[in-house]
Symmetry: C2
């Protein structure tokens, strides 16, 4: 297992972590500059942040600074209530692949979607099995396109508390079943993003990480689970502040040969997004060395 205590060369910052500084939205170029100043070598930006700054501008910045992208957030949201909705998701996902390619991302992260309409509070139906079928079929279609573009797709199993509104793939086992079905030869074109926040509780986690193997372990996201957790979405903790044994999980991944970045992804309306960006990044660096 790699020793992270001496430096932060394997730290990546998911730009949602510093989406806000002192409660105010932060433009992506400012985030990039702040990361570069601290010797952070990789980021994982969100599409809305890239769109706001302009894809060409972000691409230029990334190249100028020699930054790597540990991933691109995010494609997915496949289920829809009608064929037009399914087609619109397909179109949007192909654009996400193109953007990820332009930014030379290591993978496009897929948050696959849940019951159509549920995120807006009005689920079109209650048939989660149907959503799962639509997700499977949607990934199959996108995989053809992504394979041609040379962009790996990383299915991110989301915590079961998001099954209704964000992602109906909720365990590593379920994500890997999709990988086995759609990419049996393990080409590396399809795999998983392991976010400790989503999967730490899973009694089968170690076994499923072993099942995934190096070819399918495309990304590692870290933060921490707080007790109590006061909000289902935006109360993630800084590594070390919660109950997740992050080094143990990283060890399981590295035992399979995973050698990529450890990407910090924290949504925190009540704490970290209220702080100054510099303080948050400095804390990420420190915790990367001590708690990851």
């Amino acid at each position: 297992m790699r020793d992270f205590s001496g430096d932060h060369r394997w730290l990546s910052i998911n730009t949602a972590t510093v989406r806000k500084s002192r409660g105010t939205d932060l433009p992506l170029p400012d985030i990039i500059e702040a990361c570069v100043r601290r010797g952070i070598r990789a980021i994982s930006p969100w599409r809305d942040q890239v769109a706001a700054a302009g894809l060409a501008e972000v691409s230029k910045l990334v190249k100028t600074h020699g930054l790597e992208l540990s991933g691109y957030c995010r494609g997915g949201m496949f289920p829809a209530a009608d064929p037009a909705g399914l087609r619109a998701a397909d179109d949007d996902n192909r654009r996400a692949v193109d953007e990820a390619k332009e930014l030379n991302a290591a993978c496009l992260v897929l948050v696959v979607g849940g019951l159509p309409g549920a995120l807006a509070g009005k689920a079109a139906h209650k048939d989660i099995a149907l959503s799962r079928t639509q997700v499977h079929d949607g990934i199959a279609r996108l995989l053809e396109y992504a394979r041609a573009a040379g962009m790996p797709l990383a299915i991110e199993p989301l915590h079961p508390m998001y099954a209704a509104d964000r992602a109906c793939i909720n365990t590593m086992e379920q994500a890997l079943d999709v990988c086995d079905a759609l990419d049996p030869p393990r080409t590396g074109a399809l795999g998983v993003a392991v976010d400790v926040y989503h999967v730490w509780w899973d009694p089968k986690l170690q076994a499923q990480i072993a099942r995934a193997g190096r070819e399918r372990l495309l990304a590692l996201h870290v933060c921490d689970w707080l007790t109590p957790t006061t909000d289902l979405l935006n109360d993630r903790g800084m590594m070390g502040d919660g109950v997740i044994d992050i080094p143990r999980i990283r060890g399981w991944m590295e035992a399979q040969g995973f050698a990529g970045y450890s990407e910090v992804e924290i949504f925190s309306t009540g704490n970290w997004w209220l702080r100054d960006q510099g303080e948050v990044l400095d804390t990420c660096i420190q915790r990367h060395r001590t708690a990851v």
Copy 2:
């Protein structure tokens, strides 16, 4: 599958559902009277409510009214940071079995506990595997006692969002692995309580219900998953107000021969606990007939 539309003979009220009326704590005898007035034939009371009213008094009320207990809430909380803590949990759980027996409950529901101290916000450690071992061993010890008393134990897999602080058994598969290990001959002494709120998201739910079979399906708890859910613990929805396909899950259970009560268990600080008890019970009856 039983037809619930014509009456509410298979409705049970978990007394937490009307723990408060218009925001004020309601004594258990008042809850019992209100249920009896409406022809509700079964309840599932909580230990703190029973203790406040007095076990003998509650036992008398239950017998007088010919009420059944679809379950007794709850035993469990096995993990501890030291041997004294483990022994204290054992003692308390044996008392819970005795109380359940006195009240002639169908089963004692087990919320097994998570990381010791986490419920108070200070987890003693991050080793969830250790907690799971302690849970396994604790259930094994309690099972001897409960078997002698003739009181079935129902492991309730809790939603993974409670893995840290309330229960580290989080899927039906995991609960049934414990059942298989501790009661291989399927005597009925050990089984599961299926709460749709905790398990609806699980892609393996149908298969695991089939695996459980009649002998291990000891209880069915119902409420609904709201989108959005604003609180991890106390924002459960009334059946029909959320995204869970409750009849489908009940159908899977009844296909295995489950023929018990459908127990309504709703924690709702922001909605149902603010309403009048009578309105809540009447709504439970109506939704039992239309949405369960």
